[in-house]
């Protein structure tokens, strides 16, 4: 019998009989679960209709109103109220109110609530972000979340794994976002459907946690169940100050079985841009420099971390956003917000005539705070560029990393960071 993949290893430690091989249907114990203001109201309704009386563990459930908050309208306010009332009724400590709430996929790792070795289910597709910590973390629907709230368990088909080995050295202005855009461009938006993606190689081993989160965040955009990175010293450094519970590091056995292994040398990779209307429509930024833009969005669960804001500030420092462009910046959590302020990044952004938003998913899903009109075009550090994603069905979204977004905001068209930094 061959060894186990990282995905199999984590799942097998969460089943009653200790077994989880690719293809098995297993019932796994859940370490942490959560929903947001869009998905949790349905889960709560289902939970109540099922006659459930208690949460499997109130310390392992978070309710995070981050999508249409600060409440954009009466209907949104009512949805958040469902979460707030439920949190009070069941004494849930992890309901995050405005001023404390951040974008869920940045907030939970930052607060040490999701940890290496965990099985995490969230009623949001970008739950796969925590694979960057070496957690088996995946998005589910509201009914699945309701079931987990009742039982603390969830069924999975154990996924086969595909391994992606990145070799070489990342060039300047190229980061985790570009690695995942490149990968999706190579395998397509269903290239890892139902699978575990495992990212490895010397490039990954030296990648910062912020870049690892960006990378794993978009595994779902290739259809994957999880996107995993084996935890190491960089993970330990990030986790040790934050962890609210014990955690465990797992890695794949040397003889683990992979459905496929890709090996790419990324030493000459350029920053990339995903053209409308699928994240697989990948071009290098130099092929896109004739594309004018109306709006730039820097933030989201993909690229709203402090490191992302620092990169944007490095480029925007002493410059102005192009007169034709609106540049919106979304620090992902209150902690990131405070630190960015302390470091003087807000001074740089506001002098550049960009605007700073409270933490919210807002424009990424066409919710609020930066909706596009018919025919408008945005360049965003977010994760999806589907039809109508940021507003009118006839608007367009292009995806890129924070450096490209900031440089493009200055020039009013999609631009390579070198065009601005070598002036």
């Amino acid at each position: 019998m061959s060894g186990q993949t990282l995905a199999e290893k984590i799942l097998s430690t969460h089943t009653d009989n200790g077994v989880a091989r690719a293809g098995d249907l297993v019932e796994a114990r859940v370490d942490f679960a959560f929903g947001n203001d869009v998905t949790a109201p349905i889960a709560i309704k289902t939970f109540k209709e099922a006659g459930a009386k208690k949460i499997f563990d109130p310390l392992r459930l978070a309710l995070i109103p981050d999508h249409f908050t600060p409440n954009k309208d009466i209907a949104s306010a009512n949805q958040v109220k469902v979460l707030r009332d439920f949190a009070r009724e069941f004494g849930l400590p992890y309901f995050f109110e405005i001023g404390r709430v951040g974008i869920e996929h940045a907030l939970l790792p930052e607060q040490g609530l999701v940890l290496p070795g965990d099985v995490v289910v969230g009623a949001d597709s970008h739950t796969c972000t925590y694979g960057a910590l070496g957690a088996f973390a995946t998005g589910v629907g509201s009914t699945d979340l309701a079931a987990v709230m009742m039982t603390g368990r969830v069924w999975f088909r154990v996924p086969e794994s595909i391994k992606f080995v990145f070799k070489g050295e990342l060039p300047r202005w190229v980061g985790g976002k570009d690695l995942i855009l490149y990968t999706i461009g190579q395998i397509g938006v269903d290239g890892a459907r139902y699978k575990a993606m495992e990212f490895d190689g010397e490039v990954i081993k030296s990648l910062s946690m912020a870049d690892r989160f960006s990378l794993c965040n978009m595994a779902i955009e290739a259809g994957a169940k999880v996107g995993l990175i084996a935890p190491d010293a960089i993970t330990e450094e990030y986790v040790k100050q934050r962890a609210q519970r014990p955690y465990r590091f797992y890695q794949s056995d040397p003889d683990a079985r992979y459905e496929k292994i890709y090996e790419w040398d990324v030493s000459s990779l350029e920053p990339l841009v995903a053209f409308p209307h699928l994240p697989e429509n990948i071009h290098s930024v130099s092929e896109a420099t004739n594309i004018d833009i109306d709006q730039v969005v820097i933030g989201s669960c993909t690229n709203g971390r402090l490191e992302d804001l620092r990169i944007a500030a490095e480029i925007l420092k002493g410059k102005k956003v192009h007169p034709r462009v609106r540049c919106l910046i979304f620090p992902a959590t209150p902690t990131i917000y405070k630190q960015a302020m302390r470091e003087g990044l807000f001074e740089i952004f506001t002098e550049a005539e960009a605007v700073i938003s409270p933490p919210t998913c807002g424009p990424c899903l066409g919710g609020h705070m930066g909706i596009l009109a018919k025919g408008e075009r945005a360049l965003a550090t977010t994760n999806r560029n589907f039809v109508g994603r940021m507003g009118d069905p006839e608007s367009e979204v292009y995806l890129c990393n924070p450096a490209v977004a900031a440089a493009s905001a200055v020039l009013g068209r999609i631009a390579h960071p070198d065009e601005v930094m070598n002036e």
Partner: protein, 166 residues
């Protein structure tokens, strides 16, 4: 269980924003969601779909978000079944959890025209195109998923299991 209805044809990679745009997710009222079902893929769909109609689509149907509003909107719009070449994984789970029947049948895709009358036997997976008199065999639904459907969805399934344990 047999169902029949007119086919609505969609392409590959129909995402959840096309099925139900996020701008409508400030409610989970199924009738409200149904009014905007498939709006960004076909703005005429919600007003012309009839009870029992069947969505036929290409690969990776339902990719993107985990929003259960997607199968809720489709079901509430009156759609009886979705047949696709393949489904995105979260949509696949959500559809079964909600009791929306979905079938994978690559052979059928491309051979069905908009408005064709389809008849589907969910227990055998046999699909008949009455307009072209052709018959197709969809991939059988995995046993575990059949149990979910028989129980009436995930929550009744879990309640049954919890009752058995206690």
């Amino acid at each position: 269980m047999k169902i029949s209805g007119r086919a609505w044809i969609f392409g590959n990679d129909v995402d959840t924003d096309a099925i139900i745009p996020a701008r409508y997710l400030n409610t989970s009222d199924e009738n409200e969601l149904a009014k905007h079902c498939m709006e960004d893929a076909d703005p005429t769909f919600a007003s012309s779909v009839q009870s029992g109609d069947i969505i036929v689509a290409g690969k990776n149907f339902g990719c993107g978000s985990s929003r259960e509003h997607a199968p809720i909107a489709i079901k509430a719009a009156g759609v009886s079944c979705v047949i696709a070449e393949s489904f995105a994984r979260i949509f696949y789970r959500n559809a079964f959890n909600m009791g929306l029947p979905i079938l994978e049948c690559p052979e059928l895709i491309g051979e069905v025209q908009q408005g064709d009358m389809l008849s589907v036997d969910l227990s055998t997976g046999i699909i008949e195109n009455k307009s072209s008199s052709k018959t197709y065999h969809a991939k059988p639904i995995p046993l575990f998923m059949q149990e979910l459907v028989q129980a009436g969805g995930l929550i009744p399934y879990i309640k049954k299991k919890m009752n058995n344990r206690s």
